[in-house]
Amino acid sequence: MSAALAKLVNISDVSVVASGQGRVILDNVSIDVDAGEVVAIVGESGSGKSTLARATIGLLPRGVHVSAGRIEVAGVEPALLDERELRSLRGRTTGMVFQEPMSALNPTMPVGQQLTEVCRTHLGMSRGEADERAATMLERVRIRDPKAALRRYPHEFSGGMRQRLMLAAALLHQPKLLIADEPTTALDVIVQREVLELMTELVREIGAALMLVTHDLAVVAAYAQRVAVLDAGRRVDWGPVADVVLNPREAHVERLLAALPTGRRGNMQKTGATAPPVLEIEQLCVTYPGRRKLPWSPRVDRVALQSVTLNVDAGETLAVVGESGSGKSSLARVLVRLLRPASGCVKFAGHDLAQVRGAKLRELRRELQIVFQDPASALDPRMSIFEVVAEGLAPSALGDRAEARRRVAALLLEVGLEERFLEMLPHQLSGGQRQRVCIARALAAQPRVLVADEAVSALDLSVQSRILALIERLQLKHGFACIFVTHNLAVAERIADRVVVLYRGELVECGTTAEVLDRPSHPYTRALLAASLELGPIAPGKYGLRARAAHAATPTDSIIS
């Protein structure tokens, strides 16, 4: 009995091809998973990591097929099974959890039914038995009042709770192998940590193996025993986490690790203490109209921001940290007047942005620019890059076309794009290049304040660090104040002079990067710090998980619904 037999999963020299254009997604990849082991598959977007996970149980999308190699799961080859046998394999030995909590559960079906669907078909359980088992599992994944939860519908749960429901569904039939395809990428930091802890705990409890697909090296370091690093469909490195990640031997892995946001921005010497702040925000409240319960009952509005007061100094970088629903993007939108505040005021160059109108507003707005998160919808698909950036120039400058071309070319150069990009169209550019064009467009208006609303969250790690460096360089050169909105503490620490923490619309923490990150005063900030997983260099060529704050309390119970 060769060692291979004892393996739970054995993937040898597998290649996967998209039959349409014949594009190679996986090129001759081999990995294996022992019973009860946690194996991570890591790589940037487009590296083929989730394809590898799905291929394991033959769930490749239409038009994509395994062109070479063999896959064995629990001694059986899924590719050779007929429809019924493949289904019972999935129904008994394997389970899967997906990335997007919003569409993970059938919105029109009560949660209980979706959970027990498998048990009753594959394990022949009666309705009562299956419900009983589901209720205990929900209890186990810490869903409040599990009996009632069975009858409720998916949209009545938050993202984090839905991911726990998915976990319960995948583990209900005690599978031998759980495949998790970026289970927590879409979740906030605290919830992410909870779900990961819960998943690994449960898997260990039922002795199942876990194949964890992620792009976050910190998660790999924290939870996996062995790891496979993929780049553009090829396996770059494979082995225990200590050899592959903590003491990187492959150039590609070193590059990834180097791109991690580490270190802290030297705090700027205050240029003259008395320089007036470029932006003063006083008692700012923002609400979104809600729906009426009954036609005559008063309309209950959702409060996004609750009396926020904040000043921003010229040339400073202020990080705004908070989870989804904390109101951070509402704040960003109010500052550039895309949203009208319910009350309070935003003073800029002696005017209250909320009151000013017409030509004066249009003139003032040019000095407050924004870069959005999603590069795909940031550029007008119909316009060339020249036209996009030229729109940033003042209307007066657009008269002379040659002059405009010269200025746009200069701006592109500043953001690291050669002149050949002028005539290209947005769909020909990568995500990173598009963000650079957005920055160039914002610069064209010579703003005094640049708001970056999660500007790097949608980018791969390597691209992310280059964009952050670019912003820092431009800020030094042009002296604009930068308000950097993010949910990632490491990014905030690397780029910001001061950090502000938002929690449910309230400003709970404000201070220099050091004050906030080393001596947090608000419990939420402490929970945030404790939950964040960060990998950093602990010695030349050696990396380790950084214990964030010595006196941070253990991650409190899920105070986040």
Binding site: G63, Q99, S103, A104, E117, Y153, A169, R291, L294
Partner: protein, 314 residues
Amino acid sequence: MMLTFILRRVAQGLLTLAIAGTAVFLLIRVIPGDPAQMLVGDVGDPAMVAATRASLGLDRPLPEQWLLFASDLANGDLGTSIMTGQQVREVIMQAFPVTASVVLLATAIAALIGIPAGMWAAWRQGRAADYLLVGITSVLLSVPTFWSGLIVLVIFSVKLGWLPALGYVPLGEDLRAGLIALIMPVGVLVLAELATLARMMRSSTLEVLRLDYITSAQARGVAPWAVLLRHVFRNAFAPTMTTLGLMLGHLLGGVVVIEKIFGLPGIGRLLVDSIVQRDYPIVQGCLLFVAFIFVIVNLIVDLLYAALDPRVRV
């Protein structure tokens, strides 16, 4: 929350009816030609025409006529036909079952065939079944109903003589003859509706199949028919149902062309004939009834939508 949803929809429906009613009132009065002249005929005695106009209330100023029209409408009186003196409500109630029997039967058949076909084509996208369905539906959508109606009439009635060309026999009166009389019109209507429903169902099923919970159901080893029935159908049917509602609402307003070819005394024919005869009360009654049916059908569809999709309910 459900109550708000219903009340808002009902209010919207009433407003639509009010606007539709006024539009109809004005439109019919602007049409040249005068019912009084039609009634008196070619004897052409001016005094007689004037007297008829007065008795029909047509000589009074427009706003006054509108008020009269609105107050009658309020207490459900649609007035009496100028030409036959019959209660408009009665005339409509005679014509509507004709149209309703053809349309409902055709829609039911089209739905029973079209919806599963659409789903199956989406499930086997890119394979033979899918291309076949898309091809057939493209052709069906391109054949005008009046052309297909004529061809069917020539083949089955003139050449083969299987089916009678003689018009409509109410189902209540003689079920067998009634059904035989409906075969051709329903058949032609089914061809047209089938294509639209199948295409709609196919596209909404394709969108649902892309979502994660379908893949996760498959990952949990759920059988294809269970995936299709339990997961895909409920989510894919909602948008198709809205189109079905729109289509049903319009068709119940009278399939004029089919009624003309097969000699069915339905609402469509009644409306066209009464426009030609300038029978104001009947035209107003018909158009209002058509609008009323449309609003009701769509209200029902919205309620079903809420029943199907819990997100709308809460």
